[in-house]
């Protein structure tokens, strides 16, 4: 359990600085509106804010009452209103309506909008259009990196995925570039950079431009983090679409981890109240099981529970080992050890409760059958059988998100659905879950998640021919017209090239994993993680040309190595992996495993932690 890191593994940098920085900036911004004020906070910002500040800090800076930004008239009687929001149009409309209502009532107040992590011009335009531009002062709170754990930084921007990968809006690229810039300012330059994907490339270019404009800042600093890897989510949709079976991923799939903490309901806590629990490396029990395949978690928890019982009994007041303690030792025992044991006991019972609840839920939904179908899809056999499994799923009106996810998995692994299947599955889906999902299908098609096979395989040939004939601007248009159809996922070929389906004889021992495939029961090595592994090993993309081509990223894979002798070998084994569009806990677990094997330490920066359900919900047009 919880295999130790190699002794030569580098230490992780201290990211708590990021929290301090964000808090200080927020305090500074609050001070910009001196005097008592009410603070309106957007729901999505509440949890991140909770992680860096608390009510007493806000109160110290004269925040009187706290409200949630929601579409209701404000009851606040304060003379000053401060809004802490994401830069969204609907928030602007809400604020404008408040201000205008005050104006109608002949009331004057001071208003301040703090945009986090940055403001958008479109938002200011709305304020202007609504006639409140001068009445409201605008500020930015550049809080874009929240350390959720010692090795996990999240931008907490789930909308990044939809905005970029569906709508093609590049508004968050600057935010990301700024975040990378901040990291290099704080932790030194990154001597080696790798990346794949269009968004990764653009972010990288913008980031480099920021660095150039501010030369001198990072020059001469010793790099702490030697390598950085940027990866677009659309390079690997498959991994994100799979059911997770490592503990942390499973907890996320079952209970939804939100901003590093989870709400365990009464069925887990075995009491009548829910409990909000922080899940990170500080939870000693969780830390030992988070990366484990679920099947190992039971035995571990049982052993641990038995051991805990022994300790408590053996070391209790009359316990033989403790006889002869003097008062001081006894005091120490009570205040230190007993306390530790008690906490461990609480955590144990919590995680055992969670396991039990997961088991119950999964048994009910026929999880085994589901996993079997997924594995069949990944390996590419029994496609007909899998298709009819999905069909039955739909017919029985099992969760709409789940059905959608399976269809996407089928589509990507098979380079699109056969037209006949596509039609019939779509029709049944609309009949089971509502005709308005027509819009969802259109979204999925645009994002390349659920497509129909083009009649014949001639399309790509046609496209390349056409592209050759027409130059520059017009080519872009034609490629775009083709892109929804022509962007083939080539999963099967990639899987073969990168050996994603491990061929091993005998049983895969999940207790002693031999490769990253353990995060999917030994059936599949996550594509994203395999790419990272290969590139780090080869120190670049040499020899991966074919894979890159199959990923449709020929122009979009890049390497940038600075000849920097200041980079210690230790720093080179500290690697920042940036997931644009979100990463899953399974990917995190897989790379943590790789790190232990190779003596690396990975740090994860993601636009948000995601999973299959979140991806599907982002594409869904019909909000449940």
């Amino acid at each position: 359990m919880a295999f130790p890191h190699r002794p030569d593994a580098p230490e992780l940098p201290d990211f708590s600085m990021l929290k301090r920085l964000a808090r200080d900036q927020l305090i500074y911004l609050l001070e910009q509106l001196p005097g008592k004020k009410d603070l309106f906070i957007e729901a999505d910002l509440m949890s991140p804010l909770d992680r860096i500040a608390n009510v007493s800090i806000l109160k110290q800076h004269e925040v009187d009452k706290l409200y949630k930004v929601e579409n209701k008239p404000a009851l606040s009687s304060s003379e000053q209103l401060c809004f802490l929001v994401r830069p969204r149009i609907k928030n602007m409309r809400y604020i404008a309506s408040l201000v205008n209502a005050d104006k109608m009532a002949g009331r004057t107040r001071k208003y301040k909008v703090i945009f986090s992590p940055q403001k958008f011009y479109a938002c200011e335009m709305v304020l202007e259009e609504e006639g409140v531009y001068g009445d409201v002062s605008c500020d930015e709170w550049a809080f874009s990196l929240l350390p959720l754990d010692v090795d996990l930084l999240s931008m907490e921007l789930p909308e990044f995925f939809r905005d970029y990968f569906l709508e093609g809006d590049q508004r968050w690229i600057n935010t990301l570039a700024q975040a990378l810039h901040l990291l290099s300012t704080l932790y030194g330059p990154f001597p080696n950079c790798y990346g794949i994907g269009r968004c990764a490339k653009m972010s990288y270019e913008l980031w480099k431009r920021l660095e150039e404009e501010e030369d001198g800042e990072t020059k001469g600093r010793r790099p702490e983090i030697g390598q950085i890897f940027l990866l677009d989510r659309d390079v690997d949709f498959v991994t994100a679409l799979c059911s997770q079976v490592v503990y942390e991923g499973l907890v996320d799939d079952t209970f939804r981890i939100k901003c590093g903490s989870v709400d365990f309901g009464p069925e887990v806590t075995s009491s009548d109240k829910s409990l909000k629990v922080l899940l990170n490396a500080e939870d000693k029990v969780f830390n030992e099981i988070r990366n484990e395949h679920f099947s190992n978690v039971f035995s571990f928890l049982s052993q641990k529970a038995a051991a805990s019982l022994m300790l408590l009994l053996g070391r209790d007041w009359g316990g033989p080992r403790r006889r002869g303690m003097d008062i001081k030792q006894m005091k120490n025992f009570v205040s230190q050890e007993l306390k530790g044991l008690k906490q461990e006991h609480r955590l144990l019972s919590l995680h055992i409760g969670a396991c039990e609840s997961i088991m119950k839920k999964k048994t009910k939904q026929d999880f085994q059958e589901l996993i079997k179908t997924e594995h069949a899809l990944l390996e590419g056999f029994n496609i007909r059988e899998s298709t009819s499994y999905i069909e039955e799923h739909i017919d029985r009106q099992v969760s709409p998100i789940e059905s959608l996810r399976l269809m996407c998995l089928l589509s990507i692994t098979e380079n699109g659905l056969i037209p006949k299947d596509y039609r019939s599955l779509k029709t049944q889906y609309l009949q089971s879950y509502g005709p308005e999902h027509l819009l969802t299908f259109s979204n999925l098609r645009r994002a390349g998640l659920l497509t129909e096979q083009a009649p014949g395989d001639t399309l790509t040939a046609v496209e390349s021919k056409v592209s050759k004939l027409v130059t520059d601007k017009a080519a872009g248009k034609i490629t775009d017209a083709f892109s929804s159809l022509a962007k083939r996922s080539n999963f099967r070929a990639i899987s073969k090239k990168l050996n994603l389906i491990p061929r091993v004889d005998g049983e895969y021992d999940l207790k002693v994993p031999r490769d990253m495939a353990y995060v999917f029961s030994g059936a599949y090595v996550p594509l994203s993680c395999r790419i990272i592994e290969q590139v780090l090993e080869r120190r670049g993309w040499q020899g991966l040309d074919e894979v890159v081509r199959l990923l449709n990223c020929s122009e979009l894979a890049f390497t940038d190595m600075t000849k920097d002798d200041k980079a210690s070998s230790e720093s080179l084994r500290l690697i920042l992996v940036v997931f644009l569009g979100g990463c899953t806990f399974s990917e995190i677990s897989a790379l943590r495993f790789l790190g232990r094997e190779k003596g690396y330490r990975f740090i994860f920066l993601t636009t948000a932690v995601t999973n299959s359900a979140r991806l599907m919900e982002a594409m869904s047009e019909v909000k449940a």
């Binding site: 409200y67 479109a122 550049a142 093609g168 609309l430």
Partner: protein, 486 residues
């Protein structure tokens, strides 16, 4: 899905990864339950009075003192003024005058600096953009020093982490089309979506839409930004114009159709859907739109009718099973279920069914609805077919193992279950289901037919002592008529 146990085993054997089962009988779970008991029994040893080592939580589960918790408090009551009074006394910052703005003056000009200067006027306007000081530092606030030290230290780098402040007035100097387009292309080359949108908003204001659309047609990145922007601000009219111009008929149709989601009134929604029917969808989608319209049309009729019936209180099924929700805007399958539930014998079912519902889906839905009402006769009729000679035969397009599961879920009595378990063709599946649902007779008869004495012997321990089943088993075991295979 007719995968049998045998297939499953073969699958797991042929595949190298270990089958991880979630069966209830799993050893690990019982082990887990054991540990849970052990751990919970520890509560006696560790008194739960001091919660200091876990977060304190309020009744809603939010940690006390957290911001989310506090917001709920404000929502609940208007807050105790006592605490606020105290805080007010402790804090005395109200004397501060307006402080200078934080250093968020990253302007477009610094992106352009020294890179591109097409004309005199453009250069001027960039100069105008950059006259705000690039760096300013957090002022001394007379506060405990530690608090700002960190921030001041990094503020020089933070000033870039805010976007530029765009002064639109200075954009007004971009008058010629060439300048405008160059501005747009420069924005696109910087990759920052916010800048691209800002330029687009300016272009939208200062160019006729034909010109704007024409220029964007060959600039896909910018075009996508405009489309997204129009969607966000809800400028449906311009969006549709744009799609029309680009000849993207399908997107045009879908975009129009999307509007129905915002219409709450069912009659109005229906009328709106009617206008969608003629739109240039793909052939396939056209049919779906037509279906959507007829479905809602049907639902409105059913709803009016049934609300009346329910209020009148004359119809038994409505009295016994009051409707939980309105049928309006429900999916077709749900509507079918509803019809099978409340109007099974009527034309309603047939009317709904005519809408191209595959046989399988119809059977699943009707079965679930009739089983819920415990109308076993209807269930029976659902699977009975007559051939041309008049013989009746039981057939289930979904497989009888599924039928049994659904019946069990609706707590059908053993006699009913037994009948359908017997119809399962595959013997192993039949035996499994019969064991799972305690259809003793089926198990016993099957064992007898298989001549499997050992299994029968094993099953004997599972039936009640002294029951009729036990007697039956004993009779079989003692029978000399049967040639057991083991």
């Amino acid at each position: 899905m007719n995968r049998t146990k045998g297939d499953e085993e073969e699958y797991w054997n042929s595949s190298k990864f270990k089958a991880f089962t979630f069966d209830d009988e799993d050893d690990e779970l019982s082990q887990l339950k054991e540990s849970k008991r052990a751990v919970n029994s520890l509560r006696d040893f560790v008194d739960d009075d001091d919660e200091d080592d876990l977060e304190r939580v309020s009744w809603t589960g939010e940690p006390v003192g957290s911001i989310s918790w506090s917001i709920k408090e404000t929502a609940g009551n208007s807050g105790s003024s006592h605490e606020r009074e105290q805080l007010k006394n402790r804090n005395s910052f109200s004397t501060y005058t307006q402080l200078p703005k934080p250093p968020s003056t990253y302007s477009l000009s610094s992106f352009f600096r020294g890179r591109w200067c097409p004309s005199q006027s453009l250069a001027c306007s960039f100069a105008a953009l950059s006259d705000t000081p690039a760096k300013s530092y957090a002022p001394e606030l007379g506060r405990p020093k530690g608090e700002y030290r960190e921030y001041r230290k990094w503020s020089s780098s933070l000033h870039t982490s805010s976007i530029f402040i765009w002064q639109v007035c200075s954009l007004e100097r971009f008058r010629s089309l060439q300048d405008k387009i160059q501005l747009l292309e420069e924005a696109v080359s910087m990759h920052d979506g916010n800048v691209i949108t800002a330029v687009l908003i300016f272009l939208k204001r200062t160019l006729s839409k034909e010109i704007l659309f024409r220029e964007l047609e060959v600039r896909q990145v910018a075009l996508r930004h405009l489309i997204h922007f129009l969607k966000e601000i809800g400028d449906q009219k311009l969006l549709l114009d744009l799609f029309r111009f680009l000849d993207r008929t399908e997107e045009l149709a879908l975009s129009h159709y999307r509007e129905h989601l915002t219409i709450q009134d069912p009659e109005k929604r229906k009328e709106f859907l009617k206008t969608c029917i003629g739109l240039p969808f793909s052939a396939e989608d056209s049919a779906h739109i037509q279906d959507h319209y007829t479905l809602l049309e049907r639902q409105i009729i059913i709803e009016a009718n049934d609300r009346h019936l329910e209020l009148a209180g004359q119809t038994e099924v409505f009295r016994k099973h009051p409707r939980k929700a309105s049928i309006l805007n429900m999916p077709l399958v749900t509507t079918l279920f509803y019809s099978c539930f409340y109007h099974y014998t009527e034309a309603e079912v047939r009317a709904t069914r005519r809408r191209k519902i595959p046989d399988k889906q119809y059977v699943l839905t009707a079965l679930a609805a009739r089983a819920k009402l415990r109308a076993w006769h209807d269930v029976d009729a659902l699977f009975t077919t007559k051939n041309w000679l008049g013989y009746t035969k039981k057939r289930a397009p979904i497989g009888f193992h599924r039928v049994v599961e659904i019946l069990h879920k609706n707590s059908a009595p053993v006699q009913i279950l037994q009948e359908y378990v017997n119809l399962v063709e595959d013997v192993d599946t039949k035996l499994n289901l019969a064991t799972k649902f305690k259809c003793h007779d089926v198990v016993i008869d099957t064992c007898r037919d298989l001549k499997d004495r050992q299994q029968l012997l094993a099953y004997r321990s599972k039936v009640d002592k002294g029951s009729a089943e036990e007697e039956k088993i004993d009779a079989l075991l003692n029978s000399s008529q049967i040639r057991w295979k083991n």
